[in-house]
């Protein structure tokens, strides 16, 4: 009950925040939710099941291109497009999960890196797949409707943002509940020891494929809203380096915690925009211009420092500190507080 309440409060507060800002920041807010879906998919796959993946942006990209194809190619309702995008991502996720049945750790990282690169350089860019990607121009989505409401990007960005945010809150709530459910315990058993989990009767094949499929579906859910928010689809947002950034930021923020995904999404969408918007001028007589590259350098360096110093991620570390402070305060008051 507390969780539902927390999700509702988060939704109400977050839905209001971008209202006063200009279109650029509204776009950032919607993009933040899309990236947060990508990071949430890693919380499921890496945080719960312990499988590494370097191709989450590929799943998001497949969702985006499928949705773009449905809307621009078949003039479908956007709801249909989202369902198709999620389904396509789910199928690709299950296919990627097949090699993961035998692989773990770094070999799985190599395979998923290869998949991300093939989609980045070949599927999303090659003329052999023009029917899927809409050619070099990509799909343009300017007349989209959802539930019969006008939802195109330029004028109705806030509508798209609110729908995205509501979906994110629901999925995040489901993820938190999954953690303690029977299925969640089985997934976490796979993370801790596949052998032990199999001995306890966990169907490894089924749960690993399901985990990959669900994770890809979550990333694809975010991605399938990308054409609505941005107005078009292009390969660049879903290229290999986005996948690597997903992995880096998910680990940086704390890959085992659902709220860390929201934090990471905001970090990934808002910080580069703020940097490039306000990061130019003159300082001590020298002109400076902060470009997007500085963001990626910061992500790389922060990831290295975090993995050496705070292995549980930013959110995990903050959470541990808060719980310690809570229990210390409880001890001062003479009460016994159970620290989870």
């Amino acid at each position: 009950m507390f969780r539902v309440l927390a999700a509702l409060v988060a939704f109400t507060v977050l839905a209001r925040i971008p209202v006063g800002f200009d279109v650029g920041f509204k776009f950032d807010a919607a993009l933040a939710v899309i990236w947060a879906f990508g990071l949430l998919s890693l919380v499921l796959l890496t945080g719960y099941v312990g499988q590494i993946s370097l191709c989450q942006a590929t799943f998001a990209g497949v969702g985006a291109y499928t949705a773009g194809l449905m809307v621009a190619g078949f003039h479908a309702d956007y709801l249909v497009a989202v369902v198709a995008g999620v389904a396509a991502a789910f199928v690709l996720g299950v296919i990627v999960g097949i090699p993961a049945l035998r692989l773990r750790g770094i070999t799985l990282a190599i395979v998923t890196l290869g998949i991300a690169l093939v989609f980045d350089r070949y599927v999303f860019q090659d003329h052999a797949f023009e029917w899927f990607t809409g050619g070099t121009a990509g799909w343009r989505v300017d007349q989209a409707t959802m539930f019969g409401l006008q939802m195109d990007s330029s004028k109705h960005l806030m509508a798209a943002y609110v729908v995205l945010l509501a979906l994110f809150c629901v999925v995040a709530l489901l993820m938190v509940n999954l953690h303690d459910s029977g299925a969640g315990r089985r997934l976490r058993a796979i993370r801790d020891s596949e052998l032990a989990a199999a001995t306890m009767g966990v169907n490894l094949t089924r749960y690993k494929l399901l985990a990959f499929g669900m994770s890809a579906a979550i990333a694809g859910l975010g991605g399938s809203f990308y054409p609505l928010v941005a107005g078009s689809v292009s390969p660049q947002p879903f290229w290999l380096f986005t996948s690597l950034q997903f992995a880096a930021i998910a680990v940086l923020m704390g890959v085992r915690y659902v709220p860390a995904a929201a934090l990471g999404g905001v970090f990934m969408a808002v910080v580069p925009d703020v940097l490039t918007r306000f990061g130019h001028g003159t300082f001590m007589g020298r002109a400076y211009d902060i470009s997007y590259d500085w963001f990626q350098i910061a992500v790389g360096v922060l990831l290295i420092v975090q993995l050496i110093a705070l292995p549980d991620g930013v959110w995990g570390d903050l959470r541990a500190r808060a719980l310690h402070a809570w229990s210390a305060a409880g001890a001062l008051g003479g009460r016994k507080v159970k620290v989870a």
Binding site: V118, D126, D293, I308
Partner: protein, 298 residues
């Protein structure tokens, strides 16, 4: 038939570069247990340093061989310093962590290096090759002209593979490196300087990556990303060698180079070779026992 032979030579040249890149990965993985996803990025950065010296800073009246020599030296010295810096600043502190954590750290290194390079040299495509052998020098083999550069690449890949193999097998420092790769703990109990060994392997690996990057410049229009993405071909070649065997890695590099070149006779696509690399990786992982790879990194 002539076209086929020409493609074979291009494929062998490309394969030699994959082999060189893969040798560095195998060397670092064997001795430190770090699977270096940033290997391509490290080679890219050193290549750009060499390129900067060759096209930016050398005097137009200097003879070409002098600029080339200076450029290659600058690239290699930079690579050595970068490898040592990474070992001292980053990987020394995570020696006992799991292989996956170390691999994720190299992703951080990759992102930082790639952006730093694109900050300095912008996102332009360059086609400004550095030829280690004179560009015009060709040999005739059975009526097919072979550029001297291809021969340099192939000889260098084979030479480095066997040279490194001999170094690991016959010198006492090489024995120390192999001891560390078998078990760092027992090696250190026997008095093997584990820190020194891993510093040297990072330096050597970075040097080999720089060499591969410089040698590939005549082949492709390169930018900061395309050289970074060489990693996937290098990883494929390294997997063929089981991440352990140097000769098999070089063989794998050549096979992969040929496999990626022949389809370009029929398919004009920049992305298709990546698919070949992925299929090779999956095929290798199906044929070999994947658990065999984890033996080195405890």
């Amino acid at each position: 038939m002539g076209a086929f032979a020409a493609y074979t030579i291009i494929g062998l040249g490309l394969g030699g570069i994959f082999s060189l890149a893969a040798l560095g990965i195998v060397l670092i993985y064997r001795t430190t247990g770090v699977l270096n996803f940033a290997h391509g990025a490290m080679g890219m950065f050193s290549t750009f340093v060499a390129w900067q010296v060759f096209y930016g800073w050398s005097h137009p009246f200097w003879p070409t061989w002098l600029s080339t020599l200076l450029a290659v030296l600058a690239g290699l010295i930079f690579a050595a310093i970068m490898g040592l810096t990474l070992e001292f600043a980053v990987f020394r502190w995570v020696r006992t962590r799991e292989p996956v954590v170390k691999a994720v750290i190299t992703i951080g290194v990759l992102l930082a290096l790639q952006s730093a390079a694109s900050l300095i040299w912008k996102n332009n495509q360059y086609h400004l090759p550095i030829y280690l052998a004179p560009q015009q020098a060709t040999f005739q083999l059975a009526g097919v002209p072979i550029g001297a550069n291809y021969i340099v690449i192939v000889v260098m890949a084979l030479g480095l593979a066997f040279g490194l193999g001999a170094f690991l097998r016959y010198t006492s420092f090489g024995r120390a490196m192999r001891a560390v790769s078998d078990s760092p703990t027992s090696a250190s109990l026997w008095g093997v300087p584990v820190n020194k060994v891993s510093a040297v392997s990072w330096m050597l690996g970075s040097l080999v990556a720089a060499l591969a990057g410089i040698l590939i410049t005549p082949f492709i229009n390169f930018d900061t990303t395309s050289l970074t993405l060489l990693i996937i071909d290098a990883l494929a070649a390294a997997l063929i060698g089981g991440l352990v065997s140097l000769p098999l890695t070089v063989l794998g590099g050549f096979v992969l180079g040929l496999l990626e070149t022949y389809p370009t006779i029929w398919i004009q696509s920049l992305g298709f070779p990546r698919l070949v690399a992925l299929l090779v990786i999956i095929a290798v992982l199906i044929v070999r026992n994947p658990r065999g790879f984890a033996v080195v990194a405890k």
